[in-house]
């Protein structure tokens, strides 16, 4: 293998561009904070910018991983922010009703309740999308609009604060010197990757996303796959909700997880998963979520006024989307996009869009 072909193989890997962006963003920090990559131990806990990026990015990674599978089936889930709020509200209000807020059993029960609520939301979304055949963006809009109302109903419009040591662990605690939420995220990501890449499940999801009707005809229960994926996404959002409410020790029906659905979709897109469905990359999504969190951190550290955060984000969305657009690449780079790689399953419907995303610079 020559050096150039190795380089080509590297740059054509689907994770190359997301990782390159992440590394570039991390490096931007170094001139401003020379010890950016330093990690030090204080009180038996590891501290450092890298650790906090993963810590603060944990809920987003979780939501984005769930969103990846939904998007892989050609759908989208706008309700995750509301599910975050509902789960947090239910769990915190249950814990705050207990006489002993530190009791492990009641905390576990509260978390179970919260996650059941998330599952119900997921089943409802899946029912509307798969059974009723409603466009995902519209079906999930219902919980997006009503969900925050439900969360506020649960908390009675107040911000419920709790004081529970065991519950604090998930979002703000440390374990084996690292933030506990990192382990939760690692577990969820590992389970997802195992399920989708070591079993046929991932293939089935991609097949449903490529063409749901064709998948049904070859004997895949596409309806069941879709419902399952929405439930999974809601559970991921639920865990993120537990994490967020645990980190702040409070449930805020109005602001918990606000706009997280948009960040999650953005993370998925940056990670190279096509919004058209049919193919996905969990690794890409994790990197995408880290890119977003790093962007936020970078904006803080280099001293750009924090209010321009959103403008930066908008610029990143536009640049990433333009780079992914075959038509844009064809116009700017002179038609090379058309010759890129073999056609994906989605090629039947949209030949122009089937070129592998993110692989052509």
């Amino acid at each position: 293998m020559t050096t150039t072909s190795r380089w080509r193989a590297l740059t054509h890997h689907h994770l190359f561009w997301p990782v390159a962006v992440l590394v570039a963003l991390l490096l931007v920090n170094v001139p401003f904070t020379p010890d950016f990559f330093a990690i030090h131990m204080t009180n038996g806990h590891l501290y450092g910018s890298l650790v906090s990026i993963v810590l603060f990015g944990s809920p987003l990674i979780l939501v984005a991983v769930g969103m990846t599978l939904v998007i892989a089936t050609g759908g989208i889930d706008l309700s995750v922010g509301a599910v975050v709020a509902i789960t947090g509200a239910l769990t915190c209000s249950y814990i705050s009703d207990q006489a002993d807020q530190g009791a492990l059993s009641s905390v576990l029960l509260a978390m179970g309740l919260g996650l059941i609520a998330a599952v119900v939301c997921g089943l409802w979304n899946g029912f509307l999308v798969a059974r009723m055949g409603i466009q995902p963006i519209i079906a999930t809009l219902i919980i997006m609009v009503a969900g925050r109302g439900v969360a506020q109903l649960i908390t009675d419009g107040q911000i419920i604060t709790i004081n529970s040591e065991p519950y604090k662990l998930i979002g703000g605690g440390y374990w084996l010197t690292l933030p506990f939420s990192i382990f939760v995220v690692a577990a969820v990501v590992a389970v997802t990757v195992l399920l989708t890449r070591r079993t046929a499940l991932g293939l089935l999801v991609e097949s449903v996303g490529g063409n749901a009707e064709a998948s049904r005809l070859v004997g895949i229960r596409s309806m069941r796959i879709k419902i399952m994926v929405y439930v999974f996404c809601a559970v991921c959002a639920g865990i993120a909700g537990l994490m967020i409410s645990s980190n702040t020790s409070a449930a805020d029906g109005n602001n918990a997880g606000l706009w997280i659905e948009l960040d999650a979709i953005l993370a998925v897109v940056i990670g190279g998963t096509s919004l058209l469905g049919g193919r996905f990359s969990i690794g890409g999504t994790v990197v995408g979520a880290l890119v977003i969190q790093t962007l936020t951190t970078t904006i803080y550290t280099i001293g750009v006024p924090t209010q321009t955060n959103l403008v930066f984000k908008a610029a990143v969305v536009i640049v990433v989307c333009l780079l992914q657009s075959p038509k844009f690449r064809a116009k700017v780079f002179g038609g090379r996009a058309k010759t890129a790689g073999p056609a994906a399953p989605a090629a039947v419907a949209e030949p122009a869009d089937s070129a592998p995303k993110m692989e052509v610079s």
């Binding site: 963006i137 079906a139 439900v150 979709i265 969305v317 536009i318 992914q324």
Partner: protein, 343 residues
């Protein structure tokens, strides 16, 4: 749209059990609008019976629906065009917030006269919409993502102007905001009148002009519209430009209504606008619906709010829940209707 009677259900189709008359009724595209109008009437009568003693029957309470929701009506009219063409615009709320911020800043801190500020804000909004439409059409990126970027961008620009809200004490603005148009049974604010004018203009454009036909055609089936030789790109870009313009106008009305600019004004209002359009019976897949339906959608949402105000004990989150339930009901109605139409 079309007034031709639909053919009765064919034997063997899923709706075999229903009689042909009810099948025909369900197939009528005007049904969602009628349902919404009926819902509005029922809600109004319920409100009358419950709060008669508190002055709910006062004609001014009815007119207040227009005064308090004029900006939403304008934004929803813009969203109607976009949704009718098969797209979606998530940037509405941000553009509204940005416009309040921009006008407040220009009037208050820069000191420009209001007469100059209004065209500037409208132009900025329309240009934002144009840019989004341009990217959506020319680079074939999904409207959802492009307008999402617009959402971030305009909300960010709000904060770039100022993190604090800017109160407006300009005499032109306050006199304009306080001007009332007498109607005999009550009065309307300038904002409400502008909203009704926009509604009338949109009604004319969508139902009586060539441009309106193109919007319907593209929403109905983009491929067919292209094959028919309709100017796809121009129409699409024009639709998003109009939506940006309407959002900016809604922002101006909101600024008049609230007399301040705030970076957090109208967060999430795009959802209200989309909900109003859906409740008004416009098909979210595009190609079918009426502007008048959007009016009823806005009125129903406004009526929920004012009933909750009259109830007093109910809290504001019931508005969100009620909106969600209504949204759900109308989406399901539309779904039932579209499956019938296809068979």
């Amino acid at each position: 749209m079309s007034t031709t009677t639909r053919t009765p259900a064919t034997p063997g189709a899923p709706e075999r059990r229903t009689t042909s008359r009810s099948a025909r009724l369900l197939g009528d595209r005007r049904l969602p609008v009628l349902v919404t109008a009926g819902l509005f009437l029922v809600m109004y009568i319920v409100g009358l019976s419950r709060y008669q003693n508190y002055g709910f029957g006062d004609s001014q309470v009815f007119l207040n629906l227009f005064i308090d929701n004029g900006y939403l009506l304008v934004a929803a009219v813009g969203a109607t065009f976009v949704i009718m063409s098969g797209g979606i615009d998530l940037s509405v709320g941000s553009v509204i917030g940005f416009t309040t911020m921009l006008t407040a800043w220009l009037v208050q801190d820069v000191g420009l006269p209001l007469l100059l500020v209004i065209p500037i804000s409208l132009a900025v909004g329309a240009f934002g919409g144009f840019l989004m439409g341009y990217v959506i059409h020319n680079f074939e990126i999904q409207p959802f993502i492009v307008t999402l970027a617009g959402l971030f961008l305009f909300r960010g620009l709000c904060l770039v102007i100022s993190k604090e809200s800017i109160a407006i004490d300009d005499s032109d603005v306050s006199s304009l905001a306080q001007t009332r148009v007498p109607l005999g049974v009550g009065d309307l604010s300038i904002g409400a009148v502008v909203a009704l004018v926009v509604l009338a203009a949109a009604f004319y454009v969508l139902h009586y002009t060539r441009f309106g036909r193109r919007v319907y055609a593209i929403g109905g089936n983009e491929q067919s519209a292209l094959l028919m030789g309709l100017p796809l790109g121009g129409t699409k870009i024009a639709v998003y430009t109009m939506s940006g313009f309407c959002s900016a106008l809604a922002g101006l009305l909101f600024m008049l209504y609230i007399q301040s600019g705030d970076p957090l004004h109208a967060v999430g209002m795009e959802l209200d606008a989309i909900a109003a359009v859906v409740i008004g019976g416009t098909l979210l897949t595009g190609g079918s619906g009426y502007v008048l339906g959007t009016l009823f959608g806005v009125l129903v949402l406004g009526l929920i709010k004012s009933i909750i105000q009259f109830e007093g004990t109910l809290s504001s989150w019931w508005t969100k829940i009620a909106t969600g339930v209504l949204l759900c009901a109308f989406i399901l109605i539309q779904r039932v209707m579209t499956t019938r139409r296809k068979t």
